[in-house]
């Protein structure tokens, strides 16, 4: 039994890597994940990854922010301590628009980014789970879970045919751990 945990195909060109994904899929080899130094457009469709729902979260946070600040303004200016400013109405909606807008934007931005960090497990000090150190530099890495995907030599050959510049058989899942 081999001690290989993950097989990595390293490509130096995103188009070659996309070609590699096609080839692996044609041979029914499941792909664990792909790590790239830049966003690759069209890869989600290939890997069957659903569109992000962060837009919905952003919208909900925006609604929340606008509601919260409008409630605060209504409470302070109309309900709690209405001021007589030249006999003008206390419930002066046009004056409340700028701040309502600002907080809508503020909540949208912070709520959405917090959701992004939470869903993706990003936070300061999180140990990076890196499979190959060059995946943030100049290598486009396809990772294949070695368990159950045998024979490994066949996978190596598929990757090599697709134009992988290097193929790694890693005994550890993450090389970033000490």
């Amino acid at each position: 039994m081999s001690s290989t945990k993950f097989i990595l195909g390293l490509f130096d060109d995103p188009d070659d890597m996309m070609h590699g994904i096609d080839k692996l899929q044609k041979n029914s080899v499941p792909i664990y994940d792909v790590y790239t130094p830049m966003p690759i457009h069209g890869i989600e469709a290939k890997l069957g990854i659903k569109p992000s729902r962060l837009g919905y979260a952003a919208f909900m946070f925006g609604c929340l922010g606008g509601t919260v600040v409008f409630t605060i303004i209504y409470f302070t200016m109309v309900h709690d301590w209405p001021m007589n400013i030249g006999g003008k109405p206390n419930f002066a909606v046009p004056d409340f628009v700028p701040i309502t807008f600002e907080w809508t934007v503020l909540y949208t931005a912070f709520g959405m980014v917090a959701t992004f960090f939470y869903a993706t497990h990003l936070f300061p000090g999180r140990t990076p789970r890196v499979m190959d150190f060059r995946a943030t530099d100049d290598r486009f890495v396809i990772a294949i879970d070695a368990k159950g995907n045998i024979p490994h030599a066949d996978i190596t050959n598929i990757l090599k045919d697709a134009g992988a510049v290097e193929i790694k058989h890693n005994d550890r899942k993450y090389v970033s751990y000490e």
Binding site: D12, P14, D15, M18, D33, Y35, T36, P37, M38, P39, I40, H41, G42, E44, L47, I49, P51, S52, L54, G55, A58, G62, I72, I73, T76, M77, D80, W81, M83, D95, P98, I99, F101, E102, V105, L106, T108, A109, F110, M112, V113, F116, F117, A119, T120, H121, L122, F123, P124, R126, T127, P128, R129, V130, F133, R134, A135, T136, D137, D138
Partner: protein, 490 residues
């Protein structure tokens, strides 16, 4: 697909031969991974001396109060609010580049957005310090927030544009910071994966554990797009609200409905000038000529012509409307600006902001690094004077001639202003030392489609129309980073 061919008639966004993904990383991280050179140290020492001057002058203000400034009963706002509006305006270009140009799919933003956004953040920090400093008793800043207090609770007045400004500036600063930092994550991860020891640990914490997996990138792009979408109206609202600080008053010279669009155009105008001031030097010192090309410089100069012309039209409209309104106070305020005791400030503003950007219609000057740099400084001087003219000349001749006064800055006023420039440059120099000044991931996106070498390959493949190739070759002449000899044979 990961890459696509781009029309040959578009100018390349990355120049140079044999550019690979690895070379992009190496080129951009060179200043981060190596000790800085002499130019950086000289700049850093001068700017931190400026920052120290700022610390001293602001401390002096807090100790002795605002009486240490040149303000008087008539001119109650002068260099403080001038400096505030100037800095906020400068900040606007960063958001314009990162958000508006993203929505318009202007890919040339990719190599300048990072440093422009950093500039935004540092400029807004400088602006915010003016707000706190001009309160005189800075601890009173807490009363600008609607917090329960022992007076009733006595709330803030949400009808006041000054309170709108508190919300606008704080939202703008924090949203810009989030936008900037989220964009930095992949690049910090790239530094982390190349570093060792303590550096690796620090960048590891700052990278939030970024890996660059498919789902992460997908969410990252969604977040970037939505942040751009909300930052665009945000940036317009911020300077609109800043202009309302003046426009909603009854002061002749301030009470003008043209202020919001006029301030926003002026803000973008001065912001792009500051981006030019910084990037033309950074490009040379950091050897980034292949990424920040003459095309980028020229594009920014074109935006400067456009916004400068909008500002010019606004000045003339203002003058016309003052006359047309038939209000004698309004008419006097404008005649006084141009011919009164502050005529020199008015005409400095006019020549720097209206006349000088028109020189950029000359393509030779527009493509000259030296000319662009000098002009960017001229524009920034002009924009400072614009705010000075609006604020001080409108105030200094009150309704009652017995309270007419002039404004004379004290050494504290001058030191805070010079010091704030020092603070700004100190922060910017630290930024280019520890973080990548160009968004690597976004520049890598351009390599296969919009780079000079990709286009060269397209030409060599021989499927392009000769007329279009000729047009393309002609457009390369303006680049100072393209070897034209390579194109003679083909």
């Amino acid at each position: 697909m990961a890459s696509h061919k781009e029309s040959i008639i578009r100018e390349p966004l990355i120049t140079g031969k044999d550019i690979t993904y690895a070379k992009i990383t190496n080129d951009i991280l060179r200043p981060v991974e190596n000790m800085p050179g002499k130019a950086w140290w000289i700049g850093f020492i001068i700017s931190s001396l400026g920052a120290l001057l700022w610390v001293f002058a602001v401390s002096y203000t807090f100790w002795y109060g605002i009486g240490s400034w040149g303000l008087n009963k008539t001119v109650g706002w002068a260099w403080d609010i001038t400096g505030f509006v100037w800095w906020v305006g400068i900040g606007h270009a960063g958001t314009l580049i990162s958000a508006v140009l993203l929505l318009f799919r202007q890919n040339w933003r990719n190599s300048i957005n990072r440093s422009a956004e950093a500039m935004t953040i540092f400029a807004v920090i400088c602006a915010a310090t003016y707000i706190v400093a001009h309160m005189g008793r800075p601890w009173m800043a807490v009363y600008s927030l609607p917090l329960p207090n022992q007076y009733g609770s006595l709330w803030v007045n949400f009808n006041s544009p000054l309170i709108w400004d508190v919300f606008a500036i704080s939202t703008y600063f924090s949203v810009s910071l989030v936008f900037w930092y989220t964009g930095l994550l992949p690049d910090i991860a790239a530094i982390r994966d190349r570093a060792t020891g303590l550096r690796q640990k620090i960048y590891s914490v700052c990278s939030f554990g970024w890996t660059g997996s498919v789902k992460t990138w997908q969410r990252f792009e969604t977040v970037s797009l939505i942040l751009a979408g909300i930052s665009t109206p945000l940036v317009l609202s911020v300077h609109t609200i800043v202009s309302m600080d003046f426009a909603t008053s009854l002061e002749p010279g301030w009470h003008t409905t043209i202020f919001p669009p006029y301030f926003v155009a002026g803000a973008i105008f001065s912001g792009f000038a500051m981006v030019q001031t910084l990037l033309l030097v950074a490009r040379k010192v950091l050897a980034l000529e292949n990424y920040i090309t003459m095309f980028h410089i020229e594009s920014m100069n074109k935006i400067i012509i456009l916004t400068g012309s909008i500002v010019g039209v606004a000045y003339l409209t203002e003058f016309f409307i003052a006359w047309y309104s038939g209000v004698e106070y309004e008419q006097y305020a404008f005649i006084n600006r141009a011919t009164g005791p502050y005529w020199w400030a008015y005409w400095t503003m006019m020549s720097c902001n209206v006349i000088s950007p028109q020189l950029l219609w000359v393509s030779k000057w527009r493509r000259s690094v030296t000319f662009s740099w000098v002009l960017s400084i001229v524009v920034n001087i002009g924009m400072w004077f614009e705010r000075f003219v609006i604020i001080v000349t409108s105030l200094h001749r009150d309704y009652i001639p017995s309270s007419w006064a002039m404004f004379y800055p004290t050494w504290v006023d001058v030191s805070i202003f010079i010091g704030s420039i020092g603070v700004f440059f100190t922060l910017f120099l630290l930024f280019i030392r520890v973080l990548p000044s160009v968004a690597m991931a976004e520049v890598k996106l351009l390599l296969k489609g919009s780079s000079e070498q990709a286009k060269m390959k397209q030409i060599l493949d021989g499927h392009e129309k000769p007329a279009e190739v000729g047009f393309y070759k002609e457009s390369l002449n303006k680049f100072d980073s393209v070897e034209m000899a390579d194109y003679e044979k083909i």
